[in-house]
């Protein structure tokens, strides 16, 4: 089974996000970018399917292909996936914002060409938190989907996916080909080792453009405003129970 793993280049999760002064977005200038952590989990799962591990026998995946959509530098995000164990990469070069529907359409075009048995990707990216691409891709392909996977078992031509839902665990059984999106507890991604970083340099990355894939990526959404969350106000100490009750009443809580 060939496995496709879309990976997104996002602002490093360790950094504090700063809203641009004009409120049009988030300041990304000169800041460290990394692979979206949920996508890292997807890469890890795909590589385990190939190499064996995490309950998957080796060879469950025959080939792991990492795809990224973004500027030239997104190639480094693909290299990270290659250093973790993916076999080859596809970079779709696109400057500026590419919205979830456009991403899903680009991925569909790649899926049509690659014919994978599974597309596994992060449930959402930590920059815009859209949580849409996996679902849209499933709809465009008319494939079964299981989102927020916390466990994946491939057996007898089916993909059984455990999802954490309110009040318990739900297990879905999917026919292949299928779409799976990953949640935080699925696995703990490996650190790319130095030799694998060196090997990744030699793995092929195909470059494409949205035009090659026949997809119009012009934005359809308008960002009205981006603002910082309201600053937390400092608390106040009260001396007596009466003061506390009066305060709560004044705040309209009781």
């Amino acid at each position: 089974m060939k496995v496709l793993v879309p990976v997104k280049r996002v602002l490093d999760y360790n950094l504090k996000v700063r809203v641009k002064a004009d409120g049009t977005g988030v300041d990304l200038s000169n800041l460290k970018m990394s692979m979206n952590p949920f996508d890292e989990i997807a890469v890890e799962e795909a590589v385990r399917m190939k190499e064996g591990g995490g309950g998957h026998p080796a060879g469950t995946a025959t080939e792991v292909v990492a795809i990224s959509i973004g500027p030239e530098q997104a190639q480094e995000t693909i290299r990270t996936a290659l250093a973790m164990g993916a076999d080859r990469g596809i970079l779709v070069k696109a400057e500026g914002e590419v919205e979830p529907l456009a991403v899903a359409k680009l991925l569909k075009a790649i899926v049509d060409a690659e014919q994978p048995g599974l597309v596994i990707l992060g449930k959402q990216a930590i920059d815009d938190d859209s949580n849409q691409v996996g679902q849209m891709l499933a709809a465009l392909l008319d494939w079964p989907q299981a989102t927020f996977a916390s466990k994946i078992v491939v057996a007898g031509g089916k993909i059984n996916v455990t999802r954490e839902i309110d009040g318990g665990l739900q297990t879905l059984s999917l026919e292949t080909p299928a779409i799976v999106t990953t949640d935080l507890r699925l696995n703990e991604p490996r650190y790319a080792s130095l030799p694998n970083i060196m090997k990744a340099k030699k793995k092929p990355i195909d470059a494409k453009t949205p035009a090659d894939l026949g997809v119009d990526v012009a934005p359809r959404l308008t960002v009205v405003k981006v603002a910082d969350p309201p600053k937390r106000q400092g608390g106040a100490k009260v001396k007596t129970v009466q003061d506390l009750v009066a305060g709560l009443k004044a705040a309209g809580v009781i």
Partner: protein, 394 residues
């Protein structure tokens, strides 16, 4: 360590390097993840406790930190590895602000190279793989109670008796000496001076070896020992290189060590700027931020000035080494430049942070206590300048 943003952060303070490419960035990213997850949360605890737990060595071995730059056939990874990957490693470890943790984990960085350079094949195969997996630890034992920088005058004697050497003497200030399984030890096998020195691989659990722990100013997470040898029998095939040829093996080690120490010291100075600048921008005094007082602004600007100059010197020296040169005078002066920069930045950062920088548990407080080990260990500033002057034909 959630990283602050702005121009005065550790990452923003690292000027883009013309000598570093995609693999250096990838190595930094991966190493940082490992360090953030496996080391950073524990360094204060380990430093206070005075040791790094054994399983951390195994994790560092499995990840490849210990083997980075060592030859593949002995369990390391060296294909495509250059001096700049080594610089990245030193910088990322320095970012912890816990030199004792790096000293503990990376002590094989000086203990192992003489074996790989001039040891027998059997010795390399037996020692290097377990060391690089983190299962075994090896120290370098050169300094003696009466001979430090003056390596050629060391007095620990090894006398050949049949198939063994009988070793008598003492070694002082040996990093990792309490916990290491082996020590690459400089001994006198011949006459006076440099021409009578050999290197012996000594099993520190052998009969006649006594070790005493030494308490020190900084680097608490790494143990330091005095080693005493009393008629210690060492098999003759534990000789590293030829008899009386040990001095060259010792000297060869120093150039790489100095480049590594200079990278670490420069990155530690960057940590000083990051923490002091963050504090200066947050702390209010006399109705304004500390950072708005000219005296503080100038301190921070001068720290940046010195660190950037040192970084440029460091990168140029490292580039010359990758071109096959051994610029001894510059490597010596670079080490002095780096440790003096660290000394300046540790001082100024502590002044800026005041009481907060004097309290235990902060990176600055630890770094301040690590200035001297950097300025003295691996060649003191005085020795470095003298060696440079001699190399320059004075």
């Amino acid at each position: 360590m959630p990283a602050p943003t702005g121009a005065l952060t550790f990452d923003a303070l690292r000027p883009p390097s013309p000598f570093m490419g995609e693999t250096h960035r990838a190595w930094r990213d991966s190493l940082r993840k490992f360090i953030e997850r496996e080391l950073a949360p524990h360094v204060t605890e380990w430093d206070e406790a005075g040791h790094v737990p054994r399983d951390v060595f195994l994790k560092a071995g499995a990840f490849g930190l210990l083997g980075a730059g060592f030859p593949e056939q002995y369990g390391g990874w060296s294909e495509g590895f250059d001096r700049f990957h080594g610089i990245v490693t030193s910088e990322e470890l320095a970012r912890l602000g816990a030199g004792g943790v790096s000293a503990a984990l990376m002590i094989h960085g000086i203990g192992l190279p003489p074996i790989l350079a001039i040891g027998t094949e059997e010795m390399k195969q037996r020692i290097a793989p377990p060391v690089l997996r983190g299962e075994m630890q090896i120290s370098l034992a050169i300094t003696e109670p009466d001979a430090g920088s003056d390596v050629a005058n060391l007095t620990t004697r090894a006398e050949r008796r049949g198939e063994a050497y009988i070793v008598n003497g003492a070694k002082m200030y040996i990093t990792g000496g309490m916990t290491s399984h082996y020590a690459t030890t400089a001994v006198r096998t011949g006459g006076a001076g440099a021409g009578g020195v050999s290197l012996l691989l000594i099993d520190l659990s052998a009969k006649g070896v006594t070790r005493t722990p030494l308490k020190k100013q900084g680097w608490w997470a790494s143990d330091t020992a005095a080693l005493y040898f009393d008629d210690v029998e060492v098999p003759a095939d534990h000789l590293i290189g030829a008899e009386n040829q040990g001095f060259a093996g010792i000297m060869r080690n120093f150039n790489g060590e100095r480049l590594g120490m200079a990278s670490g010291a420069t990155a530690s100075a960057r940590v000083c700027i990051e923490d002091a600048a963050a504090w200066a921008q947050q702390r209010q005094t006399f109705g304004k931020r500390l950072a708005d007082h000219q005296v503080i602004r100038h301190k921070i600007a001068e720290m940046v000035q010195r660190v950037n100059a040192t970084t440029a010197y460091l990168e140029h020296c490292a580039w010359r080494v990758t071109q096959g040169e051994t610029p001894v005078a510059d490597l010596c002066l670079l080490k002095v430049q780096a440790t003096q920069t660290l000394e300046f930045c540790a001082r100024e950062a502590t002044q800026i942070m005041g009481g907060a920088g004097y309290m235990r548990g902060s990176r600055i407080e630890r770094i301040y206590r690590e200035v001297r080990v950097n300025a003295i260990g691996g060649g003191s500033e005085e020795i470095m300048r003298d060696l440079a002057a001699r190399q320059l034909g004075l």
